[in-house]
Symmetry: C2
């Protein structure tokens, strides 16, 4: 086990109707003038935004709105938001939405007190030393941003989708999590979210670090739960228990709980970020295409953990050797993804002829000549993995 | 799943040599005059206390010592500590030790700013509204107190061992966790610690709450890890990986990670507290005697979760019916406990003729006429469980 720091100070307030506590939570964490960040119209149409703003007003929190955050959120919206925060002298950012909304709020939170260009943080030219506090009312369980210190933003100029990872400063102060808010999530989005959660766990699980028994077992357990609960939530959208388990799975998948003491990988995420930056696909669907290809490559080059995953998560016991067990696990994973309506090839994702050279070039331009850790992947390897996804 | 709040703000700094960071951590969390609380002489003899105090001095933290905390810590030491804190105008409590030391420091932390008798908090007559910050250098993985908001203290007058559970105020600010510090733990103490961790998970796992898939799977995973790692640590005390996994298992077993959204039980802990209060046995060893008896009773009265535990944790597949599967799981658990040197009966614990009437009377005097939740146990039921442990 590697040395690690586990720090997840976010107060997770989980259950039915918890959005009514938003105002008092903002006050408890020092907010008096909040910017309410949200995405499309669903938060408005569902009445959630109204309930949240009512709660803010009751708690005596002033607020103004920043709507219109899009999936794969962009730097343009962040610049707009930073400007609004400064004009409104905001002291709190409240994200009402999923990962795109939360990530936009976090980028604003880091950018407001910074004299330079907030993109410096994403480009690795500066490290955020302070940030406005961020609170979350979660509507889409997927990205895990409600519990992480991370943010992913796409720069429109050049379509660079980059992530900022902080150990402390961007962890939300609180996250209000009402599973009933996710009853109206379409099946497609439910499945994309579940795939993203699985991927967050697998980025940590596939490690060469030795002696990671607690981390392994917890990762396997949460994966098993996602595999059990996703079909339930898709077949019966109002199944509170299934929605609740998925919502919490998304948080522990990415707040550090899973994978403590493991060297993490993240090659699949980086490879997918290029796909969604260039082709505008949903992140979870892109991961459903990239991750099986990555696993297939790993089964042939570093089989140990893929075999363990195949046995413990997918129950594969047949197979004459480690590699065939591992590949059967990958086949099970693909069948699971298909069963929840996910694509597992570029073609199924709607990209008949992906420009793999462009993806490889942008990947290594953004992330360096070697990406990932379970195996350090060069251009030849990442090209092979993209091709395995055809 | 029940509504819940998950709040674990403690900064866990985990790895080799992390005790050298103690001073800077105390400063980061506002400490300038600390009381260093510790137990017997092992922290002194091993040189740990010296290294910690050197780190405090380097960070410019003044300190004085309060040693001599005993297992099953008493109110007498807490009163002594509160008096010392007030005289020294301490603003930080640093616990260097295991659960007894940490629990003593927490009780002091709550008692110092309180004008009444700190025992009010344990007797349920008052709720602590504020407390001095507590930091931890952990030397015994077992009680999980480094990540919990709880404290367990025994009142010498009448031998009442009571627990104080707070959602926020007594959570440590930080916990320094160096698995190498546990290389010198005797096999007996290692096994008692592992049993305590298992018990902390089982108190949460055995619940009637429906739709707890993530919690169930995480609990099962951490139990599997404890079962794998404990024999390794006992057979090779310097096995860093085994020690590290056990140390982290002890934390997640009790900081709320396992069992979110579940109604918890705690009858076995309450029943054991009476045994250790009256007979002075080690808590983990007492649990090794009480828990199998509790499980045997449950197999006959509410089998569902005991059967699931037998199948998923102990791999029991034979058995014609749920109850025989469950009882085979209990038998596996007892064999595991025996294999790590734990007693599973009062006789093996060295109490040939326990005064069960006294234990039952004290239990219900302390905890009311009904204890536990998986089944609400009356005097007849708790007597039967104590008798099953004969």
């Amino acid at each position: 086990m590697k040395d690690f720091t586990f720090y997840s100070p976010t107060e997770f307030v989980f259950g039915r109707g918890t959005e009514h506590q938003t105002g008092s939570l903002v006050r408890a964490y020092g907010g008096t003038r909040a910017i309410v960040v949200y995405g499309g119209g669903s938060a408005v149409r569902s009445g959630l935004l109204g309930r949240v703003e009512e709660s803010l007003a009751e708690a005596g929190v002033e607020y103004c709105e920043l709507g219109g955050v899009q999936p794969n959120p962009t730097d343009a919206k962040v610049y707009e938001g930073i400007d609004l925060c400064r004009r409104a002298k905001a002291d709190f950012l409240l994200a009402v939405g999923g990962g795109s909304v939360i990530d936009t709020a976090k980028a604003m939170a880091a950018g407001v007190p910074y004299s330079g260009d907030f993109w410096d943080f994403f480009a690795g030219r500066a490290v955020p030393g302070e940030a406005l506090p961020v609170g979350v009312v979660l509507t889409i369980p997927a990205a895990g941003s409600e519990g992480s210190g991370n943010s992913v933003i796409t720069k429109l100029d050049g379509l660079h989708k980059l992530s900022l990872r902080t150990p402390k400063v961007l962890r939300p102060a609180f996250a209000v999590m009402d599973p009933a808010l996710t009853f109206t999530l379409p099946a497609w989005q439910t499945a994309c979210g579940a795939t993203d959660m699985m991927a967050h766990i697998m980025e940590r699980y596939f490690t060469n670090t030795e002696a990671t028994s607690v981390a392994d077992r917890m990762c396997e357990g949460v994966m098993l739960s996602i595999i059990e609960e996703t079909p339930k939530a898709m077949h019966n959208p109002d199944d509170y228990g299934a929605r609740a388990n998925l919502m919490w799975a998304g948080t522990v998948a990415h707040n550090g709980t899973c994978g403590v003491g493991c060297e993490e990988d993240w090659a699949s995420h980086f490879m997918e970020h290029e796909v969604s930056a260039v082709y505008g696909v949903t992140h979870g669907a892109g991961l459903a295409v990239i991750f099986p290809a990555w696993l297939t490559y790993m089964a042939g080059h570093n089989v140990r953990k893929v075999e363990q995953w195949a046995r413990r998560v997918w129950g594969v016991w047949a197979g004459a050797d480690a590699m065939s067990v591992a590949l059967e696990g990958v086949a099970c994973f693909k069948r699971f993804l298909h069963s929840i309506g996910m694509p597992v090839t570029f073609g199924e994702l709607g990209i008949a002829n992906p420009d793999i050279s462009l993806l490889v070039d942008k990947l290594h331009e953004d992330k360096g000549e070697l990406v990932g850790n379970y195996i350090r992947l060069d251009r030849k390897a990442t090209r092979e993995i993209y091709e395995l996804a055809l």
